[in-house]
């Protein structure tokens, strides 16, 4: 476990809590090496999260995250918390990138969204008339890349909780901590995000000819 000086007090060696009892101290160089080891292990996961949150800006977002995490290494009190800590920094770097690009939350009529049911829409539109597993056939038209593209149609406000909970396995309360928002707010965003996701699944399928292809 790491505790002690942050980036503003770089002259002092960093004390590791778990070895403090035997008096072991880490020099700055050793501390940097430990950070490299921790972060290197997490690179595929971090890139995966960023890819789903900011698409093609993922590499830049992970670079931002690594630099920010290294500067704030003193905030990490427990090495076992490093994966969650790095993910938390990354999510905020991704959100910063979204803001810099001026992406605004989409205008949504939530009354329409609330009433939308993809299940009913598929049943009503019946895109595969000869299918006896209509709904599953609809989902099978989507590759993983398609699903991630659908998510990119959602504003960051709804995309972030959906990705973290349903794709990365974070608990709602952990997402609330990362986003510094009340749990109730995250639950409401998840609810609306799921509805928007369903709606965008349908519009993506029609925009990209997935239903036409399947009907052939």
């Amino acid at each position: 476990m790491i505790s002690g000086s942050g980036c503003n007090n770089r002259a002092s060696p960093i004390r590791l809590k778990d070895v403090t009892q035997v008096g072991v101290l880490y020099t700055e160089a050793e501390q940097a090496e430990r950070f490299r080891l921790l972060a290197r292990e997490q690179l595929p996961r971090l890139y995966g999260i960023a890819r789903k949150l900011v698409g093609s800006d993922a590499e830049d977002a992970v670079q931002d995250c690594l630099l920010k995490a290294f500067r704030n290494l003193g905030q990490l009190n427990d090495e076992s918390a490093a994966p969650a800590w790095l993910a938390s920094i990354l999510v905020n770097c991704c959100r910063d990138r979204g803001r810099t690009k001026g992406r605004r939350p989409e205008e949504v009529n939530f009354e329409d969204v609330e009433e939308f049911s993809l299940y009913r829409k598929i049943a009503y539109e019946d895109p595969f008339p000869y299918s006896d597993s209509l709904h599953l056939d609809f989902l099978e038209e989507f590759t993983a890349e398609d699903v991630r593209s659908v998510l990119m149609r959602l504003s960051e406000l709804y995309r972030v909780p959906l990705v973290l909970v349903y794709m990365e396995g974070f608990l709602v309360r952990e997402v609330a901590e990362i986003l510094e928002a009340p749990t109730g707010t995250i639950l409401a965003r998840l609810h609306r995000g799921r509805k928007l996701f369903e709606k965008h699944m349908w519009s993506y399928a029609t925009d990209h000819g997935l239903l036409k292809e399947a009907a052939r």
Binding site: L43, Q63, Y119, F197
Partner: protein, 76 residues
């Protein structure tokens, strides 16, 4: 008994185990009698699985190399 729209509104929360005891009871009572909402529930489960399966992202080798280099270049 709750209506279909009330039940459908809470299906994902139900799947996620995020509903309270009372809601749980009323959703399950509804599902026991409503075939269409059972279909909605099954579809919500599949849709959630679709999201989960789309979570795997391959990191291009060149990206991994550049990010690793960023780490190597960090100096105290």
């Amino acid at each position: 008994m709750i209506s279909c729209s009330e039940a459908v509104r809470q299906l994902w929360e139900y799947l996620d185990g995020l509903v309270g005891d009372r809601e749980l009871e009323s959703i399950e009572a509804h599902l026991a009698r409503c075939r269409r909402c059972c279909g909605e529930l099954e579809f919500a489960r599949e849709l959630r699985g679709t999201l989960e399966r789309a979570s795997e992202v391959d990191v291009p080798d060149a990206v991994l190399r550049r990010l690793t280099q960023t780490l190597e270049d960090l100096e105290p």
